[in-house]
Amino acid sequence: MSGMRKILWLLAFIVTGVLLYPSLPSLDPIISKTSSLEVQIRDTEIKIVQARDAQAEGQEFLARLETLRGRIPSDPDLEGLVNELSRRITATGMRWTDGAPSALEQQAEGAVFRTWQISLTVAGPESGVFPLLESIATADRTLTVDSVSVRTEGDKVVVAINARFYALLPGEYNDSQYQGS
């Protein structure tokens, strides 16, 4: 076989290889899958760090979690809310005269917690207004007040409060983005 023929054979092999190369199965799916696995590894490592930090805090972490569960419970717990408000109102020397929770508020798309409204009408001495407002602000349950109306009626005042309370439903908080309504 002459040298030229050898070179031609070599070229034929190379050209054949180059032509056949694109017909080989694509590696993209495997590469993509591997990248996805690498992301999973990174995410899991972050989870491990997060869990270990919580574990290191121990009882302190668990106590804080319980406080948060009280503030933002997993269900509306209207009965618990009414009981607490009633207790606090009474403690300030006021009397709950009227009030009712409204229906669930319309949630914004992507919101991960639920919001309800509640209206309160409280009557009592003027000296009870400030403690009442302070007590609501420091309630175990998180309440946000939208409006307060204080009206003098004779020797007493009538306080009307529009507020909101919240719940974070189970299964709606893992790996989610938290967005208010």
């Binding site: 050898k6 919580a54 804080r64 407002l133 204080v150 003098t152 208010g180």
Partner: protein, 502 residues
């Protein structure tokens, strides 16, 4: 370390082999299967040759071979072609059918144009080819019969199967060589054979007649005796011729004999009748002490071939006529092998070019899967704590978010009360929070109050921490009763309650 040598003598269809350790013969074997190729193959069947073993020297005596002394100069040996040309010039042989070889007795003396003695030999190429073919892949060198006798002076008579020859060696050189017209022992067999066909039986009868005195096979004995006498006559004529030529004959009248016929007492008788004396070469005989005496003279050529291995090379050796064909075959084989190897190399390269990325990607995928399994294994016992951590994060986030714009209602209310003039009576305070701004509307009675009193009240309101503006929406004085409607805006700057951290 002692070296082992092998020498073979080809005589017609008969092959004889002698093994030596250094210059001492250790074994002797002879085979005659009627075909030289077959005989050689059987003879060398058990010969083992290692990479460093010396070649096997084969001495060939054939009817057509010729040997002649010649002069050689350094120029003539400058190349093998030049030397071959000199050999063909010295010998009247057909170049197409005959191969040539030669030797220079003292190559170290060859300087410039100085003439040195040498010898040329010829051999039928067909015989040579047959011998080389029979030797197969064994390394060997084929030389012509009398050349191995160098250094053993005298008149050497060879009585072999194929030929009978006479060589004259003087001063360690071959001076003259002649194949006798009578031929070898095969001519005796031919005479006895007549119309019979069993050659082997006749050969056996001749062999018996050669060694038996007063043989009962008178026909064979008579024929051998006649052959010996005729041989002696031709020897006498030849030696006379050499004398007339002026050749120096050492120990003139003494004959050194070798070959299967040399042992015959009938030869002794014939030589004696012609005035010759049978002599023995004691130097060679001593080295053949391990060979049976009946075979000793027959073993001379093979033995001398063995002990002269490698001497006077390369000229003394006949080139293998198949050498070019062998080389061509080797080159062809090498090309095929190199082409296959090259093709494989290209295929492997292409394979690596195509396969390596796949292997790398697969390997990385496998390693990543292993890493993931490891990480998941470490995470498994922490999963519950992680879920609690996530829950805590979620609730804290919601809590912080909803309280972010929450005003401190109690503080606002307290400040409003503190800024209220003592004479004023609050009728109603309405406060609403929207988008970080708290708008407070105050409706109050200000008995006996004047506009300046309201203005002073507004000033105090505007000085409350967080208040951004304060203004009046109404100042009414009716029947001595003054009522005012005021508005204060607060900017929500801080949450009303302590933040619950995560």
């Amino acid at each position: 370390m002692p070296e082992k040598y092998v020498g073979i003598c080809i005589d017609g269809s008969r092959a004889t082999m002698v093994n030596t350790i250094d210059s001492l013969a250790t074994s002797y074997a002879t085979v005659d299967l009627g075909d030289v190729g077959e005989s050689v193959k059987v003879l060398i069947k058990n010969v083992k040759q290692r990479k460093k073993s010396p070649p096997i020297r084969i001495v060939v005596s054939a009817p057509t071979s010729m040997v002649k002394s010649m002069d050689v100069t350094a120029k003539a040996t400058a190349s093998y072609d030049d030397f071959q040309e000199l050999l063909y010039t010295a010998l009247p042989v057909d170049r197409d059918t005959t191969s040539v070889a030669g030797m220079v007795y003292n190559p170290e003396d060859m300087v410039g144009d100085k003439v040195c003695p040498g010898a040329a030999a010829s051999l039928a190429t067909s015989v040579l080819s047959e011998v080389y073919n029979a030797m197969g892949s064994l390394r060997c060198e084929v030389v012509s019969m009398p050349l191995v006798f160098a250094a053993h002076n005298g008149v050497w008579l060879g009585i072999q199967q194929g030929i009978a020859s006479l060589s004259l060696l003087t001063n360690g050189r071959i001076v003259a060589y002649r194949q006798l017209r009578l031929g070898g022992l095969s001519s005796v067999v031919s005479h006895l054979l007549g119309s019979a066909t069993n050659v082997k039986a006749i050969q056996t009868r001749v062999e018996q007649a050669l060694v038996t005195v007063n043989s009962t096979d008178t026909q064979a004995s008579t024929e051998v005796g006649r052959y010996m006498r005729m041989l002696t006559t031709e020897i006498s004529q030849t030696i006379d011729f050499w004398r007339r030529q002026g050749e120096v004959i050492e120990n003139d009248g003494m004959i050194l004999a070798y070959g299967p016929g040399a042992i015959s007492p009938l030869l002794d008788d014939a030589l004696h009748e012609a005035g010759f004396v049978r002599a023995l070469c004691s130097a060679i005989d001593r080295q053949l002490v391990n060979v049976a005496s009946a075979q000793r003279l027959d073993s001379y050529p093979a033995f001398l071939a063995a002990v002269s291995v490698g001497k006077n090379m390369p000229y003394v050796s006949f080139l293998n006529p198949n050498y070019q064909a062998l080389k061509r075959a080797q080159r062809r084989k090498l090309k095929i092998v190199s082409t296959i190897a090259g093709t494989l190399a290209v295929l492997v390269s292409l394979g690596l070019f195509v396969v390596k990325p796949i292997v790398d990607v697969k390997r990385k995928e496998s390693a990543t899967k292993t890493s993931l399994a490891d990480v998941e294994g470490r995470f498994a016992p922490l999963q519950d704590m992680y879920l609690l951590s996530e829950e805590s994060l979620a609730r804290a986030t919601v809590n912080d978010e909803v309280l972010a714009d929450q005003p401190n209602w109690a503080a606002i209310y307290q400040q409003l009360m503190l800024s209220t003039p003592p004479t004023a009576t609050i009728v109603q305070i309405t406060a609403t929070s929207s988008e970080g701004v708290v708008i407070v509307n105050i409706a109050a009675a200000l008995p006996g109050g004047r506009y300046e009193d309201m203005s002073a009240w507004l000033t105090r309101l505007s000085e409350i921490s967080g208040a951004t503006s304060a203004w009046t929406r109404g100042f009414n004085e009716r029947q001595g009763k003054v009522t005012v409607d005021l508005t204060v805006n607060f900017a929500v700057s801080q949450p009303a309650t302590d933040e619950v951290s995560r």
